[in-house]
Symmetry: C2
Subunit: 506 residues, 2 copies
């Protein structure tokens, strides 16, 4: 055991984080003498904090000193309060013109340029399903293609992937629950990582393929085919017809070639799941640094998981580009409060006893840990679940926190690369969008190396968040160019398509 | 074209059903002269019906004559009303002691007798998942077992089946949404068609395996193993560990042998999906006749799909064994009204214009068509979703109408055989419970013969409902004894496990 380690997360912070438990009396290198034992994960005052002055962590206010705090003091519930003052949304008060690099200076990757101007990072063919009733047929189609061995003749195609789910009928035929399923299906059908899709239905389901085609003006083409089991005359005939359709799609899909494209065509989904006390200290801020880099290079970074930024939304409203963008975010928060109340639940809006024991003093501090992966740039847009992202820069999409559901919305919105931070150890993987998994601590990285792409635990050993952000950014470019993530090597991504269900299953 | 056909569904009925459109002036064989053109699927008065007298179809009141109705008249909205009178629940007024055959006289089948006294009709090993985050690992485990070829040495095992789903986290950790997922998992884990199960989790999910084990007093054994990806150290190690556990389970599972068992050990799930105008005329009442036979032979028949019996619940309350059983059903109806209202939806409680054009005059008539598959015997119990069915005879389980969700609850409750009526043409199939599909019309049967087990369309050609019920009952016994259904021959059942989600995904 060497000296207990501490960490300053942001230059504006007036607290340090105890990486290891710090005994009373420890004199920190280049810092104050610690006046009380501080458990690991907790906070130590770096400078004097006057009564009523903000306590800053992540560069953000997490509360206010309820008494004068001396340098070296333990900073926690006994000397920090959170009052309503800071719930001021301060719409757009911190918006700024972003320093986006000129196209010639932007980083590049090797991707597939698609007819709509977007970039693919993979080149799959998808088998979509309108309803659970066609899920097995979708699998049969994919299995028949695999069994035939035909993909050996089309080496530029990454695979033929069924995307099945548990809904599409026994649901209301109008309203946001229906609309978001439509957006999700269309988001996948038109996704730049899918060269072509076949959409297979049963026929009598609530989610009608014809209605979706009419809504988006979709024509049958070599990039989009649809059919139903009832019209095709049963399982076997549907499989045969869809296999024939896919065979027709293969030559054009295989003709796609990677070319040098600017990083501005990357759309990065930000995710966390299985979080721990280190998430907000290591992987999340490092991912935030990578998101800032991507925005600087003209790309897009999508923060989501609305229930997990709850309490910290005013920081995003302050970063909003305009009052409208900020108000849209507040509208989402209010929708969630109402929705969970109607279902007899509640937003978990206090740090739990476990969180507090881990050093989280206020709800802001907790949500800031999650929001840290969104970096620091101006919020350019707020999107509904699965809505097409049409702005560059940092944006927010409304999703639940549950990983597969959240990621499905982001991918439908156009995300062509995904970064997922985890402390407990998620095994998440995605198709058609490659998913880079970041361990928040070195223990986890060692324990699950075969599942983890990047170790952010070494931030606790002195690697700077900026350097780690650069490493993540470089990995994003490599993966976007075709380098396979751990979850792709393992074969993940066929079971993680989970469209959000907000209405009653009837 | 011969004579237009008509049908009397029940000896107590005072209306006939026009199977084909009947021109005005047609003299029906052994019936009245028809006084107006009656479209196919609509009703014709068989006898005089006095003003205010009940109109009976399916042997049940569907409304009351709003004017005197002459024999041969078209019976529809213009001369039928539904008033509040008949919404009297008349609890237990029609309950009767059932004529159950003595054990020696009961039909038999060849099944697996399980240690808990229940009977298996199949002999699978299951891979259950606590959360979507372990879904892909569950598939990898099944694929590794398949790849190894080891099942060739264990011919009495029907397969190793992953049961994956889209929930288990991002949900409240208490309340009915959590409880019903627990019941569903335990219902599958203990199902008599599964010789043994492995339950695989991620580790940090809301649905905790340890909590479920404590709740049911489950010990690790050769019939139940559990593990998590986080504790096992990632994907590959989890797959290896679970494959080893399953290898250990194979000898005991393979030792199971079919023996002659009484039909009283059969628990029949009643389902309909993709209904049409013939469902209530052919397949549903024929399935009801089969359910009555099964009850007579001491077995259990489970009606479900609460939103689809809405409006006809008073007929079930009258058949209830006791006031308590009847009140439980009314409680479910009230819960559904409140639940759908809270989610901004509504129970579809009027025949739609399409239904009316098809000949359905009142909401009772519509729901009666669905309820007809429950036969006529006394209602012995009302169960929550996925609750273990512990009564013999005819029972009701609360489920949504959406087929895979409804069937998942019934199977969790112990159903070891399933009959599914369809008019539009469902491709549903189930594991571990074999699913017999009944076509409501001969057109569908011809179009999707490879998916349909029984044609009930010939009822329109003169086959009696009683004879068709006997055919269905005999098929149930054969399938329970190992005869493979069409959906089993095709390979269905790995994608239809869909636990009901009633709470918010957060
Ligand atoms: Ca999260
Ligand atoms: Ca998450
Ligand atoms: Ca139904
Ligand atoms: Ca149904
Ligand atoms: Ca699946």
């Amino acid at each position: 055991m060497g000296e207990p380690r501490t960490l300053r997360l942001n230059a504006q912070d007036n607290v340090l984080i105890a990486v290891d438990t710090v005994p009373a009396g420890t004199v920190l290198p280049a810092g104050p003498a610690v006046t009380a034992r501080v458990p690991r994960g907790h906070k130590i005052a770096a400078v004097p904090i006057a009564e009523g002055a903000p306590v800053r962590k992540f560069g953000q206010i997490i509360g206010f000193a309820s008494a004068p705090i001396e340098p070296g003091a333990w900073v926690h519930e006994h000397n920090v309060v959170l009052h309503e003052f800071d719930r001021d949304y301060a719409f757009a008060s911190e918006a700024r013109a972003e320093d986006v690099l000129a196209p010639a200076a932007q980083a590049t990757f090797q991707g597939y340029r698609r007819p709509d101007g977007r970039a693919g990072t993979r080149n799959y063919i998808g088998i979509l399903t309108s309803v659970n009733c066609s899920a097995t047929v979708a699998h049969f189609i994919a299995e028949e293609i695999a069994r035939s061995g035909i993909l050996r003749d089309y080496p530029n195609i990454d695979g033929v992937v069924p995307f099945v789910h548990g809904t599409g009928c026994g649901m209301a035929g109008q309203g946001e629950g229906y609309d978001l399923l439509t957006r999700t299906q269309w988001g996948y059908a038109s996704h730049p990582n899918l060269a072509a899709v076949v959409l297979v239905g049963l026929g009598c389901e609530v989610f009608q393929i014809g209605r979706m085609k009419a809504q988006y003006g979709i024509e049958e083409s070599e990039r989009f085919r649809s059919l139903t089991i009832q019209e095709s005359g049963g399982t076997r005939r549907t499989v045969e017809a869809a296999v024939a359709q896919i065979r027709d799609m293969l030559p054009a899909a295989n003709a796609a070639r990677r070319e040098t494209l600017p990083a501005s065509l990357l759309s990065l989904a930000l995710q966390c799941g299985g979080s721990d006390g280190y998430s907000g200290l290591t992987a999340n801020p490092a991912l935030g640094a990578a998101a800032d880099l991507l925005v600087r290079h003209g790309g897009t970074a999508i923060l989501s998981e609305t229930p997990e930024i709850y309490g910290a939304e005013h920081l995003l409203t302050a970063r909003a580009e305009s009052v409208e963008v900020g108000e849209k975010l507040v509208g989402l928060i209010n929708w969630w409060k109402d929705y969970t109340a109607r279902l007899g639940g509640e937003m978990n809006n206090n740090p739990s006893p476990g969180n507090k024991a881990g050093g989280l003093t206020t709800i802001l501090e907790k949500s800031l840990g999650a929001a840290a992966k969104g970096g620091t740039t101006t919020l350019r847009g707020v999107y509904r679940y699965a809505e097409q992202i049409d702005r560059r820069g940092f944006v927010f999409m409304d999703t639940p926190g549950f990983d597969p559901v959240a990621a499905t919305g982001q991918v439908a919105g156009g995300a062509n690369v995904l970064c997922f931070t985890t402390g407990r150890g998620s095994a998440y993987g995605c198709k058609p969008t490659p998913s880079i998994k970041l361990a928040t601590n070195s223990d986890l990285y060692r324990r699950m190396t075969e599942d983890m792409d990047i170790n952010c635990g070494d931030i606790l050993d002195g690697v700077s968040i900026e350097d780690k952000g650069r490493e993540i950014f470089d990995t994003i470019l490599a993966v976007a160019s075709g380098a396979r993530t751990k979850s792709e090597q393992l074969g993940y991504g066929q079971n993680e398509f989970v469209p959000w269900q907000i209405g009653a299953t009837m």
